[in-house]
């Protein structure tokens, strides 16, 4: 067992090293060795930067290499890397929270009421077929360049994903379990709280993981189109200076933010769904 685990780790590290080495020196080496026509453009540091440059940009943007010192550097730039990350993270979080809360609420209500489901069904389908990203300029027009428009964009992308899953999950609740709860004395509300919600939770969580990524995408796109602060804004600025390494820094920061959010959702999921075999705490 430990044998195969170390083998997996070995290959993971090996792939990382190869990618980094090719990224760092691949372009120079191929220029020296290959005829000009065969040099892969994709490795050109002008477009994709290279690890050493990215690391330097990270130190500079992150205020680790500033002669004035960390604090002065942070205060001198109102869209420094840390503040930008914080703003993007915060807007992602609120958009995700509002989007999933309202998606869950709407999914439960329509899932429990055949009448409402039939009334709203066509509207939901119609609204859902609008590509959400197409609405971003409109959202910014309405809510301005500040945080609110980013939260609204994230809300838009999160809501429908969570809504549809909650709706399906609510529909899939075992009718006999509901009858059993009733016969044991549960009121309509108690049935919702103690049977429908726990039972639909697996479906809800299946949508929350993609929803986190969607929220992040929504916020970044919002920041591309119009923002004062945030990682998306940082990327757009770097693009304006054709600075690939700064873009890469922003992309890596987003990657870590995404991983952290996914870990948070996943650990909540494995706690709340610990009664399901795949989330059983391993011995």
């Amino acid at each position: 067992m430990s044998n195969s685990r170390s083998a997996v780790l070995f290959w993971q590290v090996a792939i990382l090293v190869v990618v980094l080495v090719v990224w760092q020196w691949g372009f120079e080496w191929s220029k020296a060795l290959l005829p000009k026509a065969y040099v892969p453009k994709i490795l050109d540091p002008y477009f994709v930067a290279k690890p050493s440059l990215i690391w330097q940009s990270f130190l500079r943007l992150g205020c680790f290499a500033d002669s004035a010192g960390f604090a002065a550097c942070i205060n001198g730039n109102d869209n420094n890397l840390w503040l930008a990350t914080l703003v993007t993270l915060k807007n992602t979080w609120w958009g995700f929270l509002f989007g999933s809360a309202s998606g869950i609420a709407a999914g439960l209500v329509l899932g429990r009421s055949d009448f409402l489901a039939r009334v709203f069904g066509p509207y939901v389908v119609a609204l859902n077929s609008i590509p959400r990203i197409a609405l971003v300029p409109l959202v910014i027009l309405i809510f301005g360049l500040g945080d609110l428009s980013k939260i609204a964009t994230a809300w838009l992308v999160v809501f429908f994903v969570v809504f549809f899953n909650t709706f399906e999950g609510t529909r899939a609740v075992d009718r006999d379990q509901i009858a059993a709860a009733r016969l044991l004395g549960a009121s309509e509300f108690t049935v919702l709280r103690t049977v429908v919600i726990p039972s639909a939770l697996a479906w809800v969580f299946a949508s929350l993981l993609p929803a986190v990524s969607f929220a992040l995408i929504g916020v970044i796109v919002g920041e591309f189109i119009g923002a004062e602060r945030g990682i998306g804004k940082l990327i757009i600025e770097a693009e304006a200076h054709a600075n690939a390494s700064e873009m890469m820094v922003a992309i890596f920061v987003m990657m870590f933010v995404g991983i952290l959010l996914a870990i948070a959702v996943r650990s909540l999921q494995s706690y709340l769904l610990r009664w399901q075999p795949q989330f059983e705490p391993s011995a």
Partner: protein, 282 residues
């Protein structure tokens, strides 16, 4: 309708007290029609019977004859198409739960996200009983179910028999006076089934709930019941009514050796066989 009360007979106590046992469930001219793809389909037709205080009545009939349908109408889970059902002189209203009635399902309906303990304590919990007052009752119910080591386990870690014991205790902990059971042991193997019969007989002989027990298993009906109501094949009609005068306490294995068991078995088997043949001829 009731045989002469012998020693240990179900109604002995009531008769000793000189009172005629009170009718707990009265079903009168019950009918149920379903609309199956436009066509009307009669599932239950003009069924009448009564269950008295402390009786253990088995509702026996071939598969698909409408046993579950009848039981669900008695429980108020399903609207009826005709007739009346009275529980303690009150007409059963669909959708309204009677707290004196407990129901055990044919299918496994445990809550998989709750532990054994939480499943058994469900009814007390939603009734608002504080945790401290629940704990003792739940613990003794867990013990009665023979699941002491499994209080914190989730249902998926249990065998079918253990799960059905949890389901039984989840209902019994609320101390229902009337117990409706829909083939609760139908999915179990013979050995586990006999153990469950033993458990149920012990509980019933101690507490003497009024029981209406649905089954298609003649042996099971004879082992448990004081009376057997035999239904005809589809549409479900009342065919015959038998008293099972096997003395109690009964042992689910030893009971099969008694003369009464053998006599009733071959007698009812004959009638049941005719109904099964009618089912197949359909």
């Amino acid at each position: 309708m009731i045989a002469a009360p012998g020693p240990g007979f179900a109604l002995a106590r009531d008769e000793d007290e000189g009172a005629v046992a009170r009718t707990r469930i009265a079903v009168r001219g019950l009918a149920k029609r379903f609309n199956a793809s436009g066509r009307e389909f009669v599932a239950v037709d003009d069924v009448s019977f009564e269950v008295k205080q402390g009786e253990f009545v088995a509702l026996l009939g071939p598969s698909g004859c409408g046993k579950s349908t009848i039981l669900n109408m008695v429980a108020g889970l399903l609207p009826r198409s005709g007739g009346r059902i009275l529980i303690d002189e009150d007409t059963v209203e669909t959708g309204k739960v009677n707290p004196r009635v407990g129901y055990v399902f044919q299918r496994d309906t445990l809550f998989p996200w709750r532990t054994v303990e939480q499943n058994i304590g469900y009814g007390l919990e939603i009734a608002g009983l504080p945790r401290s007052e629940r704990a003792g009752r739940v613990a003794s119910a867990v013990e009665k179910a023979g699941l002491s080591g499994f209080a914190q386990s989730f249902p998926r870690m249990l065998s079918g028999g253990m799960r059905q014991r949890v389901a039984l205790m989840r209902t019994l902990i609320l101390e229902p006076e009337i117990l409706l059971m829909d083939e609760p042991f139908g999915a179990l193997d013979t050995h586990t089934k006999l153990e469950m019969h033993k458990t149920l007989l012990e509980i019933w002989e101690r507490e003497r709930q009024t029981v209406l027990f649905v089954t298609h298993d003649l042996g099971e009906a004879l082992t448990l019941a004081s009376r057997i109501i035999l239904l005809s094949a589809r549409p479900g009609r009342l065919r015959e009514d038998f008293d099972v005068a096997i003395p109690r306490p009964r042992d689910p294995v030893a009971v099969r050796e008694t003369a009464e068991f053998g006599r009733l078995y071959s007698h009812i088997w004959h009638s049941l066989g005719e109904e099964f043949r009618r089912t197949r001829a359909d």
